[in-house]
């Protein structure tokens, strides 16, 4: 039982903070980065590749670094602290994670090698209009003819779908189940837009578009998609924790400096007690995120699914509490695009809805509430 980083992990955190944190130390820099497409800093993306961050989760033979979940969590947390718009979570952890889990050795080397080197951006085209979260596809269908495959249907919203060089697309298979396919970004009909937190998403329309099966053709990979989604949930929780910590810090700094009625705001107990409750939410979330990250390292998919839901539920509750209170305690300034805290709240909202918000997770957990006795995190 150990909740602390070792020396190498501390060094990694400091290095990421030195690169990503320093790049966005001034919030204006982030505003400029998201003002124009692709919505992030391509130069920083290249430098992240040079530092080895983009290959962190992948095996060395695939061009990666072979680091563990704690290290990936560290990167996500630092990204969250400055709400960096680079698509590490959706491109590396999620889309790259799927290629790593399902691809043939050749596909892994080619796709993950280019991703790790910063030469290629990946996107996972999975959500379909009108459907909730889950590991399966319905509206986009795969067809095989003469040994080649094609896809038809609409995926939306696809995070960073317009910028992506390669799309990893989920599709309903002719024989049932869900398969994954690689599609060259330029082969799809794409229209991109900005989301409320400055990140990018796209509508991706496929119309008999040529696609390469990822891994064994025609194989149902629903459970692999579910597991990679669970890992991504835990990493999104790390990213959200970083954002929550800074949102609270920014709020307490503001309470200490802003004056009204001739005194600083921290003289009003109605405000300081609410900040104390935000701290409680932050610490409970922190504990849960560390735990879930360590469960990823154990590699048991069932335990991971449970831990991912639990962490995502806590992050949803804690993130909304801290985010909403952060704006309220700042007052009007918290509503402005110019001031950072509102963007933190927007980003927390995006992370909450990327792979299933609190209520969705609670439904998963509540369905099995009588299937176990008291929970034991040390079992």
């Amino acid at each position: 039982m150990d909740f602390t980083y070792d020396d190498e992990q501390v060094a990694l955190r400091d290095a990421v903070r030195g690169l990503v944190g320093r790049t966005y130390a001034d919030f204006e820099t982030r505003r400029r980065a998201v003002a124009e497409d692709p919505g992030f800093d391509e130069k920083l993306w290249t430098r992240m590749a040079e530092m080895g961050l983009l290959g962190l989760p992948f095996a060395e033979e695939d061009g990666g670094v072979g680091a563990g979940p704690v290290e990936i969590g560290i990167v996500c947390r630092e990204i969250g602290r400055v709400v960096a718009p680079e698509p590490f979570l959706t491109s590396v952890v999620l889309a790259g994670g799927l290629v790593s889990a399902c691809g043939t050795p050749e596909q892994r080397q080619e796709v993950l090698g280019a991703l790790s080197a910063g030469e290629s951006v990946l996107a996972f085209a999975h959500d379909e209009p009108g459907r909730r979260w889950g590991p399966t596809a319905e509206a986009v269908t795969a067809t095989e003819g003469g040994g080649s495959w094609s896809l038809t249907g609409v995926k939306e919203p696809v995070p960073h779908g317009a910028r992506a060089d390669v799309l990893v697309v989920s599709a309903a298979l002719p024989g049932g189940g869900t398969g994954l396919f690689l599609v060259a970004g330029d082969d799809a009909d794409r229209s991109g837009y900005a989301a409320y937190d400055g990140s990018r998403a796209a509508r991706v329309r496929l119309d008999g578009t040529a696609a390469t099966p990822l891994g064994h053709p025609g194989q149902d990979v629903t459970s692999s998609i579910a597991t990679v989604q669970d890992i991504t949930r835990v990493m999104a929780a790390n990213q959200a924790l970083g954002a929550m910590q800074v949102a609270l810090r920014s709020t307490t700094d503001y309470l200490k400096s802003r004056k009204q009625f001739g005194v600083t705001l921290n003289t009003f107990q109605a405000l300081t007690f609410r900040a104390a409750d935000m701290y409680v939410s932050q610490e409970l979330t922190h504990s849960m995120v560390e735990w879930a990250t360590m469960v990823v390292a154990q590699g048991d998919p069932a335990a991971l699914a449970d831990a991912a839901s639990r962490a995502a539920l806590q992050v949803s509750r804690g993130g909304r509490h801290i985010g909403q209170e952060a704006i309220q305690l700042h007052g009007g300034i918290g509503m402005t695009a110019e001031y950072a805290v509102g963007t933190y709240v927007a980003h927390l909202t995006m992370l909450d809805h990327l792979l299933g918000e609190g209520g969705f997770q609670l439904r998963r957990l509540a369905s099995d509430v009588t299937g176990h006795g008291a929970l034991d995190p040390l079992a």
């Binding site: 039982m1 307490t252 104390a276 610490e283 409970l284 922190h286 390292a297 009588t370």
Partner: protein
């Protein structure tokens, strides 16, 4: 970062579980698990079994029966104890006056009191709160005036938990009314059989008799029963209350109550998705709290508690209350039958649900009210 316990800690945990589930009589543990009130004899019997095995006061200095355990070992000891339904050692003895005497007491006081405090041969009561000194404890007015070799004590204490069982009471008294209120307080050890001590029960909203008023009328206390320095009582009180917050989040007991309730009300839970959602949400919050307790236990260094420790009392009491509230709802209309006897057709847990719920409103008031905890967090952690 590592999730698993070390081999040694795992073995320690198993040893604790083995002891608590086999050495403490089942009738006592069942009474705890079913939420029934324990008799004084049951409390003393359980304490003596623990004490004989060296498990009653592991956190005391080693020369007085402590074990020199790590914070994580103490955490595991406490959690396994609660999970098994073993009554926790009486806080007034084990967490309050014991550590105070070990730290501030004279050699004579240590010799006379500590062994019998550990074994619960002496049942201690706490004489702190007064009608006009609650959260603002330093306003206390009970006075002690020196007369020859004695102090003469007059005044009234209140909220004295289980004072009806008390043999001795450690009491904060005003020994100098002329100085700043914190500077004129001392601590006296008072034999509750002394002439002039009167214990009067306070009836509570749960229908039970848990707390008392204790009146002192010209009670003579030998001068040797002063603890620490004359007028140094506030320092001792702060030391004692600092210890009180450790272990004040009864995570294990709350988890056990929730798991037990799920089983007892399985039929109701099976047909009501909203109840299942409430249970799942509470289980998740309890998990987050337990993990926070582990983080605190694994990383409190040099006696300084991890900053997150202040979260434990605040959230721990809220969840304890929320689970008791859920149990009343699970009991449904049967929860009305709190006055029914054992010939009732309703199950005991359902009949006891509401008194427990009402009783636990205390949890966010004692041990430093939750508003005091928020004050601590906002001032000392957030710097507000």
């Amino acid at each position: 970062m590592q999730l698993e316990l070390s081999e040694e800690d795992e073995a320690f945990r198993a040893q604790m579980r083995e002891f608590f589930t086999t050495q403490v009589p089942e009738e006592i543990r069942t009474a705890v698990i079913e939420g029934r009130e324990l008799t004084k004899e049951q409390m003393v019997r359980s304490a003596q079994i623990l004490n004989d095995a060296g498990l009653a006061v592991p956190h005391w200095p080693e020369e007085h029966g402590g074990r020199g355990w790590s914070d994580l070992e103490r955490h595991l000891w406490f959690e396994e104890m609660q999970a098994a339904g073993v009554p926790a050692p009486l806080a007034f003895n084990a967490s309050m006056i014991g550590p105070v005497l070990a730290h501030f007491g004279t050699e004579e006081q240590k010799r006379e009191f500590l062994p019998r405090t550990a074994s619960l041969e002496i049942w201690w009561s706490q004489g702190f709160s007064e009608p006009d000194a609650g959260s603002d404890l330093a306003s206390l007015r009970t006075s002690a005036v020196r007369d020859g070799d004695d102090w003469v004590v007059n005044g009234q204490k209140t909220w004295t938990t289980l004072g009806q069982h008390g043999d001795w009471i450690f009491t904060l008294v005003r020994t100098d009314p002329e100085v700043k209120k914190q500077a004129g307080i001392s601590m006296l050890l008072i034999d509750m059989t002394s002439p002039g001590v009167e214990v009067r029960p306070i009836q509570l909203i749960d229908g039970g008799h848990e707390v008392n008023e204790v009146w002192f009328t010209d009670v003579r206390v030998p001068a040797r029963n002063l603890v620490g320095e004359l007028n140094g009582g506030w320092t001792i009180a702060k030391f004692l209350l600092g210890n009180e917050r450790v272990g004040v989040a009864p995570v294990g007991a709350t988890k056990r109550t929730l798991a037990h309730a799920k089983e007892l009300a399985a039929d109701v839970v099976a047909e009501d998705p909203l109840l299942r959602a409430r249970i799942a949400e509470l289980e998740n919050e309890l998990l987050a709290l337990e993990l926070t307790a582990l983080r605190v236990a694994a990383h409190s260094t040099g006696g300084e508690p991890h900053p997150a420790s202040s979260v434990l009392k605040l959230k721990g009491s809220e969840l304890q209350q929320a689970v008791s509230e859920l149990v009343v709802d699970l009991a449904g209309p049967g929860s009305l039958a709190s006055g029914a006897g054992d010939d009732s057709d309703l199950e005991g847990w359902a009949r006891r649900a509401t008194p427990v719920y009402l009783n636990l409103r205390k949890a966010s008031i004692y041990g430093g009210s939750n508003e005091v905890q928020r004050q601590i967090i906002s001032r000392t952690i957030l710097g507000l």
